[in-house]
């Protein structure tokens, strides 16, 4: 089947879909169908070519406005490329919708973990630390580390998925996605283990004075609470507050509620001179 397959799509059709994806992917994002309009706009140049019959084109147009949501950097271009290959091979709308629905969830998980949570957190914390010391290379470095690798990864994904075509599903099913996600998860956890205490700042300036009798003489002994805590476990307070925030999120507190609580704790503690 592959050898007999007729090439209906030219490189310019594919590039047109790719550029529409780049400039429009999440436009019109809404709660009802999320990225559906951006996805539809990107696949239309392909559908025009593969479905010359106006009625068939219209049907595909309507179908591709269904709910769609995935990571816009890792995931979206891969699905788009694979979809283009399936369209060229004459796949039915059920098949292509199945591809979209089947891949958008897992790829959103991979993309959000690798791109947002891991890669961005690393470059952003390095860039921010540089910026805070007054070095303009901080934000410039971040922009370069976004501009070039992001674009390369998106371009590569789109054409790789297109060339893999129907083999893609088998490839992804072979455990590749779960291997990559596992590696990203491990790196993410190690990095967070080190980043969290280095960036969350919380210490107490509290001192506890007590009068004690030493060999019959009364003296005042001052106990520095922070020094005691450090002796037990360094960065104890940052770890505790991060764990508290995590625990609350797990109990379905919203991020906004957690922010309000953390702000209140910090503000009251700082204003009273207990923390900081």
């Amino acid at each position: 089947m592959d050898t007999a397959m007729e090439k209906k799509l030219t490189r310019s059709d594919l590039m047109k879909a790719f550029w529409r994806y780049i400039f429009l992917n999440q436009l019109g994002w809404n709660y009802e169908r999320m990225q559906s309009v951006g996805y539809c706009a990107s696949i239309l140049p392909i559908l025009r070519k593969t479905r010359p019959d106006p009625e068939e084109f219209k049907e595909a147009f309507i179908t591709n406005l269904n709910f769609f949501n995935t990571n816009p950097v890792v995931g979206f271009p891969l699905i788009l490329g694979a979809h283009a290959a399936l369209e060229e091979a004459g796949a039915s709308l059920e098949t292509t919708e199945g591809l979209k629905v089947g891949l958008m969830g897992p790829l959103a998980g991979v993309g959000d973990t690798i791109v947002w949570a891991l890669y961005n957190s690393i470059i952003m914390s390095i860039g921010s630390v540089m910026a805070l010391s007054g070095n303009v290379m901080g934000p410039i470095l971040v922009i370069l580390l976004v501009l070039i690798p992001y674009f390369a990864v998106r371009y590569w994904q789109f054409f790789w998925a297109y060339n893999q075509g129907s083999n893609l599903i088998a490839q992804l099913g072979s455990g590749m996605i779960s291997r990559v996600t596992e590696l990203a998860t491990i790196v993410g956890l190690i990095v967070i283990g080190g980043f969290a205490p280095s960036i969350v700042k919380m210490s107490t300036s509290w001192e506890w004075a007590r009068d004690v009798e030493v060999r019959g003489e009364m003296t005042t002994q001052v106990v520095n609470i922070q020094a005691q805590l450090d002796a037990i476990l360094p960065f104890m307070l940052p770890l505790l507050i991060t764990w508290l925030a995590y625990w609350l999120l797990k109990r379905n507190w919203s991020p906004i509620q957690v922010i309000l609580l953390l702000t209140a704790v910090g503000f009251i503690g700082g204003a009273l001179g207990i923390l900081g």
């Binding site: 780049i22 809404n30 239309l44 957190s121 007054g134 283990g193 925030a245």
Partner: protein, 245 residues
């Protein structure tokens, strides 16, 4: 007035960037603040405000489309007000601005229903041209204006508020102290959000390794990241030994 327009335009661009091109991650506070610093002619303040907010918001992203505080607008306004009133004034206006704007974000995500229903109508008519006209010219308006208008209004008419806030700061040093301690604690949220999307209970050991590298071995962050990749690779090599790659 020109500054207000330019900053509003910058806010629009920063939000558009994450809706499509993702060329410079303009919606992140570090970048938004840096750009605002260039516009107001005070890059140092832009980097201070942006960098501080960035560390607070590290790992805070709209996973699955959830609304988060709008640190983009926060960084832009914080930079503008921080230029005149100083860093503390800027940062203490940036955080409430970011929180207030979350309501606007939820509202505008609702209003975007309009586009998907217009799209249905174009699809029924098989009208690709009309649909693309909407996508290119109008589909970003609600999203962009929901940031640009508040920025414009705050910059054009917010001056008296800044004077009041900076006077208040001078008379109440404890308030300052409270804000700076809260700023140090807030990054805990970003890490908590990251932990929530990662399977912590399956791999607790890796968190501990990262902590030991930093807290006891004093390893810099890039070193921890490289060590993380190495440990992950070794783990997978051992785990999948005997299986094909």
């Amino acid at each position: 007035m020109l500054t207000a327009l330019l900053l509003a335009l910058w806010a629009y661009l920063c939000i558009y960037d994450i809706l499509g091109p993702v060329f410079f991650l303009g919606f992140r506070p570090l970048i938004a603040g840096f750009g605002a610093g260039l516009i107001v002619g005070d890059v140092q303040t832009g980097m201070l405000i942006g960098g501080t907010l960035e560390l607070m918001a590290l790992g805070v992203y709209t996973y699955g489309g959830a609304t988060i505080p709008d640190f983009t607008v926060g960084a832009i306004l914080g930079t503008f007000f921080g230029k005149e009133g100083g860093f503390e004034v800027g940062i203490s206006l940036a955080i409430p601005a970011a929180l207030l704007l979350t309501q606007v974000d939820i509202l505008q995500r609702f209003l975007n229903f309009f586009f998907v229903h217009r799209a249905d109508a174009y699809a029924e008519a098989g009208d690709e041209k009309g649909f693309m006209r909407m996508m290119v010219w109008t589909s970003h308006l609600i999203w962009g204006l929901s940031r640009a208008i508040p920025v414009f209004l705050a910059v054009a008419y917010g001056q008296p508020a800044v004077v009041a806030v900076s006077n208040f700061f001078e008379n109440n040093p404890w308030f300052n102290q409270g804000i700076s301690v809260a700023g140090g604690i807030l990054p805990a949220l970003g890490f908590a959000m990251l932990l929530k999307i990662l399977p912590v209970s399956t791999y607790p050991a890796f968190l501990l390794i990262g902590f030991v590298l930093f807290a006891y071995l004093k390893m810099p962050l890039v070193g921890i990241a490289i060590a993380g990749v190495a440990i992950g690779l070794v783990y997978q090599q051992l785990k999948y030994r005997g299986q094909e790659a």
